[in-house]
């Protein structure tokens, strides 16, 4: 037996558990946080993804004692009261789920990915969700939801609000340049 103290979604939790207790079971059985799903129990599906000290991991493949003293974030810790996290909102709006079983893991993996890659290409999204399986959606709407989440998260950053005007202008200028190139091409034809 071991005394395990983990900060889960900002709240310190302390339990005496067997050394072989998996983090996924610690969260579900000891704390009642059943949003973390166990899909395969063999580190393949990613349904059990949570963040440990800010990094996404598969909680079915980590011992609770291994992360003693760590900060753990689960799907239950994302929303602020009734206000969904932008990634949750995007999954809802883009229909990035059907049965919803993979969704907590998909969302936690997406939050992790967008930390490293705030503006991912489609290829980067697919590579970034390689550890998560979905048996319903065919992934199309999941990729859509990730793209929208990324947009929402980037738009939200207050520090960039002041600088926003400049890049917009640039984008417009680039568009104009493109247009004039197109026009030239058309003229050539």
């Amino acid at each position: 037996m071991a005394k395990v103290e983990i900060k889960v979604n900002g709240v310190k939790q302390s339990r005496n558990v067997e050394d072989r207790t998996l983090l996924a079971n610690f969260l579900r059985d000891e704390l009642g946080l059943t949003g973390t799903h166990i899909g395969c129990d063999t580190s393949q599906c990613g349904c059990c993804t949570v963040h440990v000290n800010g990094r996404a991991v598969k909680s079915c493949s980590v011992l609770a004692v291994q992360v003693n003293g760590a900060d753990v974030l689960t799907i239950e810790g994302l929303a602020k009261g009734s206000k969904l996290h932008p990634v949750q909102q995007a999954f809802s709006e883009c229909h990035g789920l059907q049965c919803g079983f993979c969704t907590p893991g998909m969302i936690m993996a997406t939050v992790g990915m967008l930390k490293d890659t705030p503006n991912p290409s489609e290829e980067e999204i697919i590579h970034g969700l390689e550890g998560n399986l979905c048996r319903c959606t065919g992934y199309i709407n999941i990729v859509k939801a990730v793209k929208q989440s990324a947009k929402m998260l980037r738009g939200k950053k207050p520090a960039k609000a002041a600088k926003k005007a400049a890049p917009k202008k640039k984008a417009k200028a680039a568009k104009k340049a493109k247009k004039s190139k197109k026009a030239k091409k058309a003229a050539k034809k």
Binding site: E18, D41, A56, V57, V65, G112, E130
Partner: protein, 264 residues
Amino acid sequence: MYALNYVKVKSLAEAAKMLASNPEAKLMAGGMTLVPTLKQRLAQPSHLVDIGALPELRGITAKAGTLTIGAATKHHDVATSAVAKKAIPSLAYLAGLIGDPQVRNLGTIGGSVANNDPAADYPAAVLGLGATVVTNKREIAADDYFQGMFTTALEEGEIITRIVFPVPRRAAYAKFAHPASGYAMAGVFVAQTSDGTRVAVTGAGPGVFRWKAAETALGKNPKAAAIEGVALDAGEMNEDIHATREYRANLVRVMAKRAIAQLR
């Protein structure tokens, strides 16, 4: 999982002592191989000796023509390290191909090299670059270290502390990943040094191996065309439901050519 005793050690010396006094104890780094093994009850260690957080086993440094990576350094840290990308970009690229983000956030280079899975990626780089595996007892050249499927030169209780890679002129890794598991069906690491070219193959055979005939054909100035007709014994390859021996042998040649075309 059988009941076990978990110990987070505070130093390498403490880890060595634990292993010496408990012959059934097992080291743990990221647990990405070990925890699934324990869950399947394929192992029953008396103790898990966690060395994953020891600062002396972490870190990536480059100096005087070598890149040194601490044994407990995570795949993610190698994949994203500016130092690694500058010294041996193909090694950082390889680290980014291992498993998935969640696995890369926990799995370590030491755990991968100690485990020596016949389809793992790091062994191809360690052998291809002719790296040195440094343990708490000695230094082992890659050519002596890998001894076939899940077998290495490590002795009971020996702990890998770091891997020292000589910086090559150019190198590249090409991997044909199994579409479900992500492990290599064939992965080829090619390194061009001042002495010649080394070609290491993972995933295709019973363990990582050097394709020596290709190395000779490539010489100091590797060109993909040079390995076109070079002998590769399909009889030495693995055969399973995923691929025949002949198919795997062909994959090795194709991956080798791709790697040569991408040397940087």
